[in-house]
């Protein structure tokens, strides 16, 4: 029997795999698909920055990877290697911008209070 309180990370990962798959199948234009995965990478970078010191971090990594896997499975029209590269680029760039405080979160010092 699946318990939400115990298996929430795995369940959310499954939801994100499904979301990534559906999104990827619906986006039949290559440029839209690449833009979307770049945006997803940006958001993943932000999530990773927000959660990088919290424990457990594994569930969040599982969810990010889950979305990427779902997206890759549903991608029949574009290059899967480019999808991974663009996702990583988006993630790295977003993480860098957050690290340098160019993009801020609500805990940042210069954020409006």
């Amino acid at each position: 029997m699946v318990s939400w309180y115990r298996d929430w990370a795995e369940l959310l990962m499954l939801v994100l795999i499904a979301l990534g798959f559906v999104l990827s199948v619906l986006l039949q234009n290559a440029s839209f698909s690449y833009t979307t995965i770049l945006l997803a990478g940006f958001l993943a970078g932000r999530i990773y920055y927000l959660k990088r010191f919290t424990e457990p971090i594994l569930p969040f990594i599982l969810m990010i990877v889950g979305f990427l896997v779902g997206y890759l499975i549903g991608n029949f029209w574009v290059s899967r290697i480019w999808i991974v590269i663009l996702f990583m680029l988006g993630l790295g760039f977003s993480y860098y911008l957050h690290l340098k405080k160019i993009i801020v979160i609500f805990k940042s010092e210069n954020f409006f209070k």
Partner: protein, 245 residues
Amino acid sequence: MVSFKELKSRVQTDFEFNRSEISSFLLAVLVTGIIFSFQDWGADQFDLIFGLRNLAMVLLLVLITFFFRASCQKIYGLSEGHKAEFKVWWLGIAIALVVCFVTLGRLPLILIGAMSAAFMVRQRLGEFRYGFSYWVQGMIAYWGPMANLILAILFAVGLYFAPDSYFFSQGVMLNLIMATLSFVPLPQLEGLQIFFGSRVLYVLGLALVALAWILLLSQTAFGLITSIVLGTVYGIIYILIGSEK
């Protein structure tokens, strides 16, 4: 609400858009412009010049709308001794763009973020029980959709006299959609602030937006005149109640 003279002084000293706000606004304007002009890049086949012209018009339109909306919210905030600042919702912008790609622009969403208010102690000295107020926060947020409705009526007037105008028709649609989505009760949007400010205000706002959809999209003289009259009456009642100090 403070006197007009005091409000003028507050606007002169404290009305501003800081750098982070301007950069967020520009990004939101660009994304919203792309979303709203997505289906207008040629009738049968892709036409770059036609599309760029439409995009430029929509960008101008979105800029006017966002500036007017934010200004209304900021000025109302200053009148109540609060400083309002735009807080962008990155996820919302990404969701709107992805939904636009998936639906090929058939479902334009505007999920750009909301105004967040901070209490200005200096402006509240001498007033009764000063402190942060959910009501004021809700009212600042409420001014957003109301500003959209004012603009929607103005664009509808323009559309009445120039029925083929792309600028006016997109202006009406943009403002009505933005006013509607302002009531989505998510923490990053204004809907939740209005909801916690006042349930009555939330329901009233939703009813006004629904009425505006019906009256303005009817594209009849009756609908337009009724919406102008109702808007004016609502404004007069608001001024009579609000300017008691």
